[in-house]
Amino acid sequence: MSTTMLLTTGSRTVRRTRPLRKRAGSVVLTFITWVLTVGMFFPIAWMVFTAFKTEKAAATNPPTFITQLTFENFEAVFDRGFLVYLTNSFTASVVSTLIVMVLAIPAAYGLSVRPLIRSTDALFFFISTKFMPLAAIVIPIYLLLQNMGLLDNISALSILYVGMNLPLAIWMMRSFLSEVPGEIIEAAQVDGANFWTELVRIVMPIVAPGMAAAALICFIFAWNEYFLANLLTSTVARTTPPFLGSFVSGRGQFLAVLSAAATLAVLPVVIAGWIAQKRLVRGLAMGAIK
């Protein structure tokens, strides 16, 4: 600030110094940005690095930066039956996401493209179910599943994830569908195309990117879900998050194995999220922004 004050003696000096100051400021801002970025990403980078260390090297103070890398932690994780949990997570996430999309796409279409009296009420209802804390419904569900012998059952968990993700998917799909130009649909109707042709051939290709984003977000929420999975599964249907949670009671040195398990657990979602990051924004804002 003060330097410019001193330099603004003549208009020529101003013109010469401003760009230079601007460039210096820009470099400083870029530097700050990168420092913050590295700081935010550090826990993840350190987790991945720790996963490749030996247990001994992982638990040193001061931390070890140069060490022999090893795959033994990943082997140990798989020895603990990790593949089963990973498969369960995958099943619950994929099955629930598929059912959600099959229910949500027609519903969102009915709510946005086709006329429906009281569609605002229906939308209001759908979004309000998202405000319901899972804790408020888990007791009857637990007792019911217990009576039916469906505790520790991956299908039961998948169905619950449908209920959890459905409102979100409907809201997102509605937002994407409302952008399909009305003329396109009218043209199809005038041509005598029936409803399903209209939906599958004309509307779906237009909203395909939005559908992918909605499906991805449902997948992410199901994959990361801990509360229900922890309560309703134990051995057969246990998914990755509660398995990770079981490290809490770990005794002795376990930091490297824990890091390896956590790395494997977050990898699918992180990679998918990186690939779809641009569309993710709109999905996360439930379609409220572009």
């Binding site: 990403f41 993840i44 350190w46 977050v266």
Partner: protein
């Protein structure tokens, strides 16, 4: 003008099928058919939502009027509001409510501020912009259970934690984060996870600013700080509201870091953790159900306020 109000109009204006007869509900056959179809399309989803989320909640309300401990199976009886009287007077509820408000409130506000700073920094052209953005969103994609474990054992551990090691350079003695300041550790994890979420929404807002207006401001001699406060901030208001609303909805249910890091100790027992403890450790079904119902009532109060503005944001489509 709501989006949903525009849609029905389209069919009415459809030149193909003008309203021929002026009956009570001026609907043509085709419109009625469309309506039937729309209902048929919405019903399966509606039924699924009702069966999976609404019926269990009604059952929870029913349970909340019962004295019922799973350890004494034969002893189940209807007690009206006794459970509510118990939970409202035993102090656990109020302290849990306080914990929830503090944890959610502080986490949402701090992530909003950090998210804004990062969004402003990212909204410039610089080397590796795309990479920085990719790295910055990663904490939000991270599984909360994994994030909690990594923070507990790898970042904030009192012996081998990286945070204590880093603080050592500026002469701060090791802190036993998990045991001495549990509430802060929870807020740290949540802030770390939700800052990217806020950042993404705010960045979308910044990028939707019309650039010619900003240029005009710059030509008129407004400095960057003045431009930020008189142009950018008003434009960003609705985006900030949106991120606060969505952040609050997501965080009100927070459970994972508490179950994994602190187990509800040191003022971190949020409502969902309290309910979990009463139901699945104490096996007091009736009492836990009462907590559940109270949680929903509180959430509804927050949600009604939030939902109204949320609905306004969505339906006016002011952001498009």
């Amino acid at each position: 003008m709501t989006a949903t109000a525009i849609r029905p109009g389209r069919v009415e204006n459809d030149g193909e099928a003008p309203p021929r007869r002026k009956v009570k509900h001026a609907l043509t056959r085709r419109e009625r058919k469309g309506l039937r179809l729309a209902r048929a399309l919405v019903w399966p989803a509606l039924a699924a939502a009702i069966i999976i989320t609404q019926i269990p909640f009604l059952v929870t309300i029913y349970y909340s009027f019962q004295e019922w401990n799973l350890l004494r199976p034969g002893d189940q009886k209807f007690v009206w509001f006794d459970n509510y009287a118990t939970v409202l007077t035993n102090g656990a509820f109020l302290s849990s409510l306080l914990a929830t408000v503090v944890i959610v409130g502080v986490s949402v506000l701090v992530s909003l501020v950090f998210g804004m700073v990062l969004a402003l920094l990212l909204d410039r052209k610089f080397v590796g912009q795309g990479l920085a953005r990719t790295l910055l969103i990663t904490p939000f994609l991270m599984m909360p259970a994994a994030a909690s474990l990594i923070f507990k054992w790898s970042m904030l551990d009192s012996n081998v934690g990286m945070v204590n090691w880093a603080l050592g350079f500026i002469g701060i003695d090791p802190v036993a984060w998990n045991t001495d300041v549990p509430i802060l550790t929870i807020i740290m994890v949540l802030t770390w996870q939700y800052t990217p979420f806020m950042m993404l929404i705010l960045l979308a807002g910044l990028q939707s600013q019309p650039s010619d207006v900003l240029e005009a401001a710059s030509v008129d001699g407004a400095g960057p700080i003045r431009t930020f406060f008189s142009m950018t901030l008003p434009h960003m208001r609705q985006y900030m509201e949106l991120s606060i609303l969505l952040g609050t909805i997501l965080l009100l249910q927070v459970f994972d870091p508490i179950a994994i890091m602190t187990r509800g100790t040191g003022g971190t027992k949020t409502l969902s953790y309290l309910l979990y403890e009463r139901a699945f450790v104490g096996l007091e079904i009736g009492e836990a159900a009462a907590y559940g119902v109270l949680t929903v009532i509180l959430t509804i109060i927050v949600a009604m306020v939030a939902l109204r503005s949320l609905f306004k944001i969505f339906t006016t489509e002011g952001m498009r």
